[in-house]
């Protein structure tokens, strides 16, 4: 499974490259390594959300592994942890 390691800082400047990285990996199940993340901004959050949706639409696995404390804390702050770390989210539609 291809892995994508997130950089330390996910800010405005990281958003473009992050999107590009996801587009290049499209079509395969992906593991996103979030262990290095120290800062997660709103723009990269959007990219992650969009990527996750895209993978869901493709029916491929999208998982965030080994999130750092900062990543967890910020996603929780954003109210996005449910999107990234639920157990039964894959393939769920309504």
């Amino acid at each position: 499974m291809p892995a994508l390691a997130l950089p330390e800082t996910l800010d405005l400047k990281a958003a473009g490259p992050l999107k590009q990285a996801f587009i290049e990996n499209r079509g395969n199940a992906i593991e996103v390594h979030a262990d290095q993340v120290r800062r997660l901004g709103g723009l990269c959050l959007q990219v992650l959300l969009a990527a996750q949706k895209a993978w869901t639409v493709d029916g491929k696995t999208f998982s965030i592994v080994a999130p750092s404390e900062a990543f967890l804390e910020t996603t929780r702050l954003f109210g996005a942890e449910g999107a990234f770390f639920p157990t039964a989210i894959h393939g769920a539609t309504s």
Binding site: G16, L43, Q46, A50, K53, A54, E81, A92, S94
Partner: protein
């Protein structure tokens, strides 16, 4: 926790900068050189400190900053006219704020009485009727906890809500238990945040807004990504996601709005008292045990994406990834709003300077490591060159030429790396205006500080140790140099004394000058005190310059009474010692009635040194080039015995003591005749000369300084160590210490005639 600590460290770094900005801005206002934006910049500095402090729960700092900020806010909105008096108060308040920051950092304490008095003073400016001294609890008194309006009405704010559907008012009954929980916690607010793309573009961040909201009280953010396009069509730099935040706080709406002060115009904001309609949080509260299925499906107002367990109020703990099974509506209604396309920007837009794009923060340790490594590289390169030389390879060969290029490159790398660590002395200078204010206040003098050459760059190793000497010299200049305003008037001077602090580069060294326009050194008094204290013998004849330099003697203090500021008798000799420890020298020039100038000269770096490599008793030593005046081979007739053990060397009509380095450092017990060796004429920091006897001179070289204290221990007579091209460790001589050693101890040798032996 590590991460939080790291963020905290960054916060304090930023505080330093913000405090500097604050002071700079206030000073500009004082001088009348401010522009319209200065007051805003000043306000922002305080506001940012307050915001960050809040995130870390630094309550005293937040409280003080709040009062300060309130006054600045009134000032920038022209509710209060800007006067010199007010700015003086603000400057003092900035000092107290700096104290609070230091205290929050664990460095020093805040004087609570001073802080409370300052807060009261600030308060009195905004509210003239305010008189009571105790530092007020900022913020508006908590409004009576009105029962939360659970019966939602189609509020105005929601009508603005261009979500593209109709809202049906809905009555929710809530069981009593949940209701009491609510009231106990405080008021609930619903804050809708719709960042615009500009928000991110200006380097602001929703996460920070949320974090700041979180410091008002527990929050639960729910994000709405219904406007988020698919990945392919996503503009990574545009804002799509919006948030609805449920906040419980005792603060009022203004406090919440304040969080968004910076992003005014770049973020649509709605603050509604009470719960959001059909908020999931509410649903969870109503039904805390079961996992709540998404409420009414037709009520699509519920932020659709994220189904997560809503934990009861103190939300921000508990990591536990959601064990929720609620089906996520994966295809949210797409009729949603495009948040960017929104209402006209609000009234006034505050341009927030983004963090300098061209500046990176680097852990100094990394740079130190780099410098160490480059030092190794230089050594290695020298070793290589030496090896090649030993093999007798022709200088015109490719190998030798390649080595030359390598040397060039190494030198350039070294220079560039040193330049990375070079910093403007500004970081030290900017602490000084405050010092001058305080000292002037304490001594009842009027002093104005003029600074020059703040951008002069010096290696970090030197910068760190500049602050103490400069502080001492400035204190001294104000306390001892400047006269009282009355005395100045009587002498026909401006009652306000001027102290000038300047930095400049001069022949590979940095020179710091502290100049005052005070009374100058009272030589008669200095001389009489020195005699009285037994520091010099009364018969001795001294030049004016020598008398001036008496103030550097340990135990000398001219203050009649011991003041708070200086005059503890530790002043100038401490300065001198710390300057000498840096390989620098200090001198004074004084003109009676016109003032004194202290001049401090220091090497630009403590990492590399130009030195003369010498051989003494089979050991290789390095003598700092800066100390060497000349080198010579003495003739027999120039060496004269002096006393039982000493000898002096006649150099151009004067005599200097001969010091055998090998003997002084204990390398040998007997000295060879000075005529067999080479003599280095050196000058100590105090200008005293001596002739060091060495066996041979190898040449001049730039060496990388390796601290002996850090790696081994301090050795008297030795300043540091270095590694030579052949891989051997060589000690760097501390010339002053060697001269001092020689003066104090008679040679260990029992035979007194050895040195003088002809």
């Amino acid at each position: 926790m590590d991460e939080l600590e790291a963020i905290k460290v960054t916060f304090f770094q930023e505080c330093e900068e913000l405090l500097a900005d604050l002071e700079g801005g206030l000073l500009a206002m004082q001088d009348g050189t401010d522009d319209g934006d200065t007051v805003n910049a000043v306000f922002r500095a305080v506001h940012s400190i307050k915001g960050g402090a809040g995130a870390f729960g630094l309550e005293p700092l937040v409280r003080f900053a709040h009062v300060f900020e309130t006054l600045l806010d009134a000032l920038r909105s022209n509710e209060i006219p800007s006067t010199q008096d007010l700015i003086a108060v603000l400057l003092r308040a900035s000092d107290v704020l700096a104290d609070h920051v230091s205290s929050a950092r664990g460095l020093g304490m805040v004087d609570d009485a001073v802080s409370a008095a300052m807060a009261a003073e600030l308060k009195a400016w905004t509210d003239p009727s305010y008189a009571a001294p105790p530092a007020p609890e900022p913020g508006v008194p908590v409004e009576a906890a009105a029962p939360v309006p659970f019966v939602m009405e189609p509020e105005e704010s929601l009508e603005d809500d261009d979500l593209g559907f109709d809202f049906q008012p809905m009555t929710i009954t809530i069981d009593e238990q949940a209701a009491t929980v609510f009231q106990a916690i405080g008021d609930a607010w619903t804050v809708s945040i719709r960042p615009k793309s500009d928000l991110y573009r200006k380097a602001n961040e929703t996460a920070l807004l949320l974090r700041e909201l979180a410091r008002l009280g527990p929050i639960q953010a729910t994000l709405d990504d219904s406007a988020l396009p698919t990945l392919e069509f996503l503009d990574p730099e545009a804002a799509y996601v919006t948030w609805t935040v449920r906040l419980e706080t005792e603060q009022d709406e203004a406090a919440i709005r304040e969080v968004f002060e910076f992003v005014d115009g770049d973020c649509e904001l709605e603050i509604v008292r009470g719960e959001a309609p059909v908020d999931q949080a509410l649903a969870a509260l109503l039904n805390p045990v079961e996992t709540a299925p998404a409420p009414e499906p037709e009520l699509t107002i519920a932020p659709p994406v994220v189904e997560q367990p809503i934990i009861a109020p103190p939300v921000v703990e508990a990591v536990a990834p959601a064990p929720v099974s609620a089906p996520a509506p994966a295809a949210p209604p797409v009729a949603a709003n495009a948040p960017a396309a929104a209402v006209a920007a609000k009234a006034q837009q505050i341009e927030v300077p983004g963090p300098g794009q061209s500046v990176i923060r680097v852990d100094p340790e990394r740079i130190d490591r780099l410098i160490d490594l480059v030092g190794e590289l230089v050594i290695n390169q020298a070793m290589l060159a030496q090896r090649v030389g030993e093999y007798g390879i022709a200088p015109s060969s490719n190998l030798a030429m390649g080595l030359d290029e390598l040397e060039q490159l190494t030198r350039e790398i070294q220079d560039s790396v040193m330049a990375i660590r070079a910093q403007p002395v500004k970081s030290v200078f900017q602490r000084m205006p405050r010092l001058v204010r305080e000292v002037a206040n304490m001594t009842g003098k009027q002093a104005r500080l003029v600074m020059d050459g703040e951008n002069t760059e010096v290696d970090k190793t030197v910068i760190e140790r500049l602050a103490d000497p400069i502080t001492h010299m400035l204190r001294n200049a104000i306390d001892h140099g400047l006269e009282t305003p009355e005395e100045r008037k009587a002498a026909g001077k401006n009652p306000e004394g001027v102290v000038r602090l300047a930095a400049l580069h001069r022949s590979g060294r940095i020179v710091i000058e502290v100049q005052d326009d005070g009374r100058g050194i009272n030589r008669e008094r200095v001389l009489s005190i020195a005699v009285k204290k037994g520091l010099i013998s009364p018969e001795i004849q001294l030049t004016d310059e020598e008398i001036d330099n008496l103030i550097f003697l340990p135990g000398f203090s001219t203050a009649d009474k011991i003041s708070d500021v200086s005059g503890r008798g530790v002043g100038m000799d401490v300065v001198k010692r710390s300057v000498q420890a840096l390989g620098g020298r200090i001198s004074i020039a004084s003109r009676p009635g016109l003032g004194s100038t202290f001049t401090l000269s220091l090497p630009l770096t403590l990492a590399v040194l130009d030195g003369m490599v010498i051989d003494v008793a089979g050991e290789t030593l390095v003598v700092p080039l800066a100390a060497i005046v000349e080198s010579l081979r003495p003739k027999a007739e120039e060496v004269r015995p002096l006393g039982p053990v000493g000898a002096v060397l006649a150099v151009r009509d004067s005599f200097v003591p001969l010091i055998d380095v090998g003997l002084t450092l204990g390398y040998r017990d007997t000295s060879p005749s000075p005529t067999e060796g080479v003599v280095l004429l050196v000058e100590g920091e105090d200008g005293s000369r001596a002739a060091l006897v060495a066996d041979a001179i190898h040449g001049q070289r730039q060496v990388v300084i390796k601290s002996l204290e850090q790696n081994y221990q301090q050795v008297e007579g030795v300043a540091a160590a270095t590694i030579l091209g052949d891989g051997r460790v060589a000690l760097i001589l501390d010339v002053d210490a060697v001269i001092g050693l020689r003066r104090r101890e008679p040679p260990r040798s029992a035979d007194p005639t050895l040195i003088a032996a002809e």
